[in-house]
Symmetry: D2
Subunit: 258 residues, 4 copies
Amino acid sequence: MQTKLINNKGLVIGGNKIILIAGPCAVESKELYTSTVNNLKYVDILRGGAFKPRTNPDSFLGLENKGIEILLESQKELNKPVVTELTKESNLNLFNDIDYIQVGARNMQNFELLKALGRTNKTIILKRGFGNTIDELLEAAHYIKKEGNENIVLVERGIRTFETSTRFTLDLSSIAVIKAKSTYPVFVDPSHAAGTKEYVESLAKAAIAAGADGIMIETHINPEKALSDSKQALTVDEYNDLVLKLDKVAKAIGRTIL
Amino acid sequence: MQTKLINNKGLVIGGNKIILIAGPCAVESKELYTSTVNNLKYVDILRGGAFKPRTNPDSFLGLENKGIEILLESQKELNKPVVTELTKESNLNLFNDIDYIQVGARNMQNFELLKALGRTNKTIILKRGFGNTIDELLEAAHYIKKEGNENIVLVERGIRTFETSTRFTLDLSSIAVIKAKSTYPVFVDPSHAAGTKEYVESLAKAAIAAGADGIMIETHINPEKALSDSKQALTVDEYNDLVLKLDKVAKAIGRTIL
Amino acid sequence: MQTKLINNKGLVIGGNKIILIAGPCAVESKELYTSTVNNLKYVDILRGGAFKPRTNPDSFLGLENKGIEILLESQKELNKPVVTELTKESNLNLFNDIDYIQVGARNMQNFELLKALGRTNKTIILKRGFGNTIDELLEAAHYIKKEGNENIVLVERGIRTFETSTRFTLDLSSIAVIKAKSTYPVFVDPSHAAGTKEYVESLAKAAIAAGADGIMIETHINPEKALSDSKQALTVDEYNDLVLKLDKVAKAIGRTIL
Amino acid sequence: MQTKLINNKGLVIGGNKIILIAGPCAVESKELYTSTVNNLKYVDILRGGAFKPRTNPDSFLGLENKGIEILLESQKELNKPVVTELTKESNLNLFNDIDYIQVGARNMQNFELLKALGRTNKTIILKRGFGNTIDELLEAAHYIKKEGNENIVLVERGIRTFETSTRFTLDLSSIAVIKAKSTYPVFVDPSHAAGTKEYVESLAKAAIAAGADGIMIETHINPEKALSDSKQALTVDEYNDLVLKLDKVAKAIGRTIL
């Protein structure tokens, strides 16, 4: 089906131009955050987690409110929108100036959260749960849409299988399947699926060639020091180089990325 | 490790006596609910969903507040505690008179909900997510415990695999694994895993033999008319017969169920 | 469906008596083999691999012809039949005096091997492939049956899933499913699924309670020194104790095991 | 690691030029076969199954020896090599004039077959089992190599997961993983994974972008009449069009396909 465009303050998602989302997994400090995002040469939306739903509660759980503040500062300084994850409805008031709200894989079937987001007009970046089918992802989107919000982007970020060489198995066929069954734009997050930065380039190129409308790539000014997911983050230079390669693939299928 | 007992108003979980939880998937009406639970000969905790987190928002989503009322009436009439699912913290005030709160598989990693339940002294019936490992289930329990509530029961209800003969693959090895790694009692829900009532007896017996501390079985006065999960519910008579068979298996391993 | 009995020289499979198969994973030497099997108090069929289809060709691949000789000697000395694995048709001539031939999980869809076994009158112990559905297992059996041999026992030994606490996920629902769809007896191999001997007792009891017609348990006189699968083998004493516990479970469901 | 080139009578695999393998799933008749392959504008190796290891023995199992004859005729007429599947060692004598031998997914761990192929100097096209890890695929290749044959191409064709929208989940990350761990060329078969021809284009482009050294695409002169896998075969025209699109993607990453 024809992908339906989302226009969020002039940034068009689902069209010919492929969207670039980059930044660190978590906002760790003002200094680390800006030193990363200020050096990204090509990026449409800045990412970074303030509220981190980690598997183990003893892990780093994000800077929370302080993290949101840092994101909003970068948004203003760089004049680029940010996307960050919401984990409970009662935090929505902190997201007034954030235009893109991510629902993480673990909350894909947190239907109360989806309904709350359906009552906003934010652009919702809905990640596929790692134990969920494509049909369930579409039904989760339907929870949001049913409340009135049609600004929904679906994200393939890998599913859980028996294969252990990668952290998750990136299911790139989901792009074609979602496009056959719905009108939602589809982004791909190769970083979380790969779990190792060596595999990110190959998967990112594949995602573009397969028809992804956007790509989310973890980048860090100093990946080895990252507090979460350090193995899968690209350095800023690696990211900038990768985008140029992705641009060639995008052009080969008649799209643009720069 | 030695299972740590939970004593909720005299009902002891994790001891020699295996706990029976029965009732319909959803509370559909006062009449249907009582006609089911009043005919259960052997049961320790009555179950029934009032808030139903269904995959598709166009499905029957439960009677909500009215469902809670019906459950509380049965609780009083039969002098048996009820267990029902909570899907968002802001509903907690409706659960004042409910001693057992279920967290469904889809919310196993809804960490905000887990933290909220950790601040109560309810007995939490935490179901394993169908895409989650046993270690993640233990870490989810840790979210509750870390807030101060140690009254946690883990429930094996099947994981998602490539096998399609059953709705989910019941992972009975999780009982031995959980008991090797933690002190939580473990219940088993064979009904959701089987997806077909013909397979429930075999799996329920297996669960008891494997060492489950309790068993949750969907029963309905008229399964064919059930609004959700109709294929997997036992009739009341089938349930009553099954319990007698389970009692024999329980005795064979030195436990009791009646 | 009613399980169809197999009578192999007086040993009846699929009836009230549950079959016990025990012995080491591999035949490592005459001395190690006999010191193990001579000390099993209760056993119907002796097991042991002579041709071992290991994942890596640099692993111990079995004593081959010499292993078959050792098995035949024990068969004679103990007057108990043996079961061992065949990996290619051209070895069939070595199996003249062996009444039970195992097809391993990796060869479940080696259809040429299945057809060759279908032209014998041996009892075929067909293990489920770890990546195969129950329906495919039934279709594999159909390859054997179509050639004329109906003496087929199916074995559940665990499937591959995302769970890593156990080596494979034992799918005990397969017992009820197979019995609903076919007349084949079903055995269960908890040792390979568990991968760790601590979990074998729980799974073996569950298998009996679920309705398994037989159980295959790896035992070794000195598990720590075993050349393959050392972590999952029970000692001879542990095995002998376990059988007494399984007997109680068997009696609870109206069957016998001793 | 640097991919090691295979040169089979002048056709170089693993180099800059990406290899095209096309043809029907099965050789059904001389007429159907030639009408398909004679109309492929761009192809390096002709494919077609003569011995078909089907899940159910009542399915069409191939023309067997007659199928091999037809393949050899096309090989001569078109002066293009053929690849076809071997299912047992004793058929090897029929493959004297065939330079590329496929081992199917179901036989990936048929180690006796692998060893037999290791004693030839054929180019072995080894497909990943749908229940097997990448490490196991590499170990299976090691079985061949250990016998002396290093002409091995690995094929990603999808693994079995809980997702049912596609027949298998194509694991494109396997390309990067295999290239990080070994020197084998990697081909991709998007047709079997997709199970539906609508998804083949997207997956084929992704495979090229991800770094595949070759691609196997099922094509049929009249897919609706195909005796096996009819839903996933492209028409000859669709295939010819697709190759031109793939060529653009290949060029974008500095390779060629035409």
